[in-house]
Each structure stands twice: as C-alpha cells, then as structure tokens.
Amino acid sequence: MIRIAQLSCGAEYSGIQKEIERAADTVGAKIVYPEVSLDDILNVENKFGVKVASGDLNLAMARAVRIVENPDLADAVIVMTCFRCAEAAIIRSEIRKFIHEHSKIPVLSYSFTERTTAETLLTRMEALVTTVKFRGLLAREKQKGLTAGIDSGSTTTKSVIMRDNEVIGTGWVPTNEVLKSAEDAFEAALKMAGVKKEEVQAVGVTGYGRFLVGKHINAKLIQEEITVNSKGAVFLADAQKGAATVIDIGGMDNKAISVQDGIPGGFTMGGICAGASGRFLELTAKRLGVDITELGKLALKGDYHNVAMNSYCIVFGTQSLVNSLALGCKPEDVAMAACHSVAEQVYEQQLQEVEVKEPVIMVGGTALVEGLPKAMEELLQLKVRVPKYAQYIGAVGAALLVSGLLEG
C-alpha cells in the first residue's frame, strides 16, 4: 500500500476530505498524517524557516519537517490548501520546495475549492502513485521490440509505432468518438510503419480516454498522462539524465512537470479556463481565417505588445480577439498576442508550482504553434526545446514504457 502524506489546510472544512481519500483509495494508496508534537508546531520556524498566523499551516510545515527527517514515514506527499488563500499559497509552495530539496519523495501540490472532486484529483494521484510504484519501469530509457502507443486526448488522438528505439509510424486524428478515433489513429500509424496489428508486441495507452480505449484494445499498459508524457518528453528531447521541466499545453488542460532522471518529482495539472489552453489558439486561428498549423508562423512575424489581449477567461479572450480585429490590429500581432496570453497564464498559474530547471521541454500539439514556445522563452528568459514528434509525446511515452513490460 502506497502511503501518501497529506499536508493540508482547509480540506475538511471545504468538504473535500472524502474526495481526497476516495481518489487515494482508487489508486491503491492510503492517506497518512505524520505524527508531530505541539512543540514541533510551536518551534516550526527554527526548522522550516517561518511560522505563520494560521495554525493548520504551521501543522502542515511541522509535518513536512518530520517527513524530511524521517523519509520512511511516507512514499509520496500531497500539499493541498484552499484556492485564493495567499498565506496558504506561499506556504504550499515553500513546503513543496522544502520536501523537493531535502528528500526524494515526490510531491503533488494542489489548491482546491469546495467543488474539487475525486475525479479531478484522480489523474494527479495516479501519477503520484506511479512514480512511487513503478520507479523501475519509469527509469527505462530505451524502447525495445515492436510496440505501439495511443494517446487518447480530449481534442486529438495520437498513435505511434516504435521499433528498437525509433518511431516508425505515426497517426493523428481529431477525437470524436473515443474508440473510433483511437482505432483510426492506430490504423494510420500501423499503415505508415508498414506493420500489421498482430505483429505489435504490446500497446500502451494514455490520455483522457485511456481506460475505455485500453480495455477495448486489450492494452498492456494503461497509464495517466503525467508520467507517460514526461517520459516521452525526456526521451525525445534526449534529456533522460538529470533535471528537466516539461510543459504540456493541452486542448483542455495544461501540465507542468519537473522531472529528475526521467521521473516526475513534482507537477501541476490544471488551467483556470480554456483560455489558457490549445482551445484558445484554435479559436484564434479560426477567427483569423488561417489553419492552426499556420498560426505559429504568422505569430512569429507579430508583436504582442500591439494588441491588448487577456485570455484569462475564454469568453473575455474571444472578446479581446474580436475587439482587436475590429480596431484594425494586424493578424500577425493578434496571433502573437494570443500565444503570449496562453503562455503567460501557464507561466503565472502553473510554472510557479514546480521547480523550473533547464532544459525546458515543450510538448503536445500546441508546442508546434511556433509563437507559443517563443512566448514561453520570453517569459522564462530561458531557451525552450521542442523535440521532434512533440505532438506524439504521450503515444511515444506509452510505447516506450510498455516495452519495459515485455521483459520478464
């Protein structure tokens, strides 16, 4: 049984404690609370560096100290506090850093509201458990044999065929009917690779539709996208050793993952609104009358400063888009402003929750919209790597990981 230490403030009073425990239970984990004394809480500043006005945050910090001093007490940590609490946001981030710096225990950081459900937490919790349970599998650096990966995403379904560490076929279709789209993407990849379905030794599945698709095609590996994508990213970007940061701006949500030796050490997943996702870029392309594949190149010619754009909410973002075009702004400036706005939100809301260490690898279909990695580079003041097959990252990660299950 994987033990997840819960360091939190406000969960019981937000009515979501049951949801946390349900999510943990679903992934075969148990929530634990490291024992601390009253003196540990009162003297928390000596060991952690700060004491705050809210006692439950001091308790969470004292528990973090206890875990760092006794790493055998927990296999993983979740740090959860109320959304919109500034005091808690500071401490949540500091607890994450503290555990990251002083131990090897993976940490998940999350801010909740009363609407947070077990389903919202499930993928995150699953990833956390995977990093603990399948450390050996995640350490795999080479793909062997003939395997396939399918990434059943919210917007698109991707598939790859890999043979002896090389991608030999790819398939990409919009997600309509989940099963049909998966079959189509898989068929396309098989066709390009010139191999028959029966020849494929194992299939790994990830993405939103992973359970449905995985069951349907009898996949050998059904895995959430956080561990799979980070594995695929470091594999394709040739950054399997040492630290890396993976940014995946998806069609519906975003992931920021700090990786150490190919294994996620901390991550966030979310997005306040579709305004911070690939969906907004699609909408911009449509409005500008260009294909999504052309939006990035157009953006590279533009300057975001010339357009007032804020896609914090997709409705207001669309309004800014319409207004800017009505004011006669140049399409290239609008395209870049849209890229900047999406990048800025990911930077503001998610990259603050993980350790950003180089190389920074951007993956997912949105990474191919050239303006987006450029905007991210400007915000981070760092070079951003977009590996080949960036849009197939989940499928590659799944094909790579499932090959590890072929042995023994």
């Binding site: 406000g10 019981e12 937000s14 705050v52 006005a53 506090t81 919109r84 509201t113």
Partner: protein, 145 residues
Amino acid sequence: MAKVIVYPPTSMILSDLVERMGHKALVVSESVRKLATANDIQSPPLNVTPEEPKKGLRYAAVDVPSGVRGRMALIGPLIEEAEAAIVVEDPGWLTGCAGCNRTNELVRLLIRTKGVPLLDLAYPTDDAEARVFVQKIKTFLEALK
C-alpha cells in the same frame, strides 16, 4: 443565564469557566456534533459537505477561500446566537476549527461588531495573571446575570 461565545471557539478553559459560572458557552463543537452525528454521513470526517462553504456565503463572499466559508458555516450561527462574548488574544497555537487565521479574524470582527457585552483578555503566563484572568471572567459573567 446568558449565551456566551468564547474565542477561540474551541477553548476548553473559557468554555469551562463560562459553564461553571452558570452560563451557556457557545462552542464550535456543538456545530460539529450536529453534522458529525447526523444519520446521513456524506462527507467524513466532519460531514462538512460542499454545501457548508455555500452556507458560509452568508458571512464571506465567494472569492473568500472555501475553508474560511466552511468554518464560518460552523461558527457564524454561534456568533448570531451570542448574548455576550469573551475574546482571548490569539496565542499562536490554534489548530483545527480555529486553525485558519483568516477565519479567526472574521470571527473576531463579527463578535466585536455585534454590540454584545465583551471581555477582552490574554492567556495568563503566571499565577498572578491567572488570578486576574479568572477574576475578570467571574466579574464579567456575574454582571450578565
């Protein structure tokens, strides 16, 4: 007998002194009991469901964290019921129902602005202060009779 809200609303010392001097102490455990011993436990451990933060909107706006509003759903009705109050300075070790300082600030504000008789104190640090502490509470409570 007066209904006296104590702050911290979880204080053993204050609620004990109020009750032994013949008054009714309003404490948060009463609100917890209503939820935690209900027939229908939907949301263990406290049985605070996502409905409580919504009830807390009576005391704090929607952009106030859910943990504050959930706690206010427990403490707010006690403040409404209070006929007098004893408030002790924050001692720096409040946890659980009193573990959120934003909630505690709002609780103190609502108690102070309610306009009921109020006694302000600090926890004693020695015997002499303890004598004064107990004496002040005694005098305050006697005046409520």
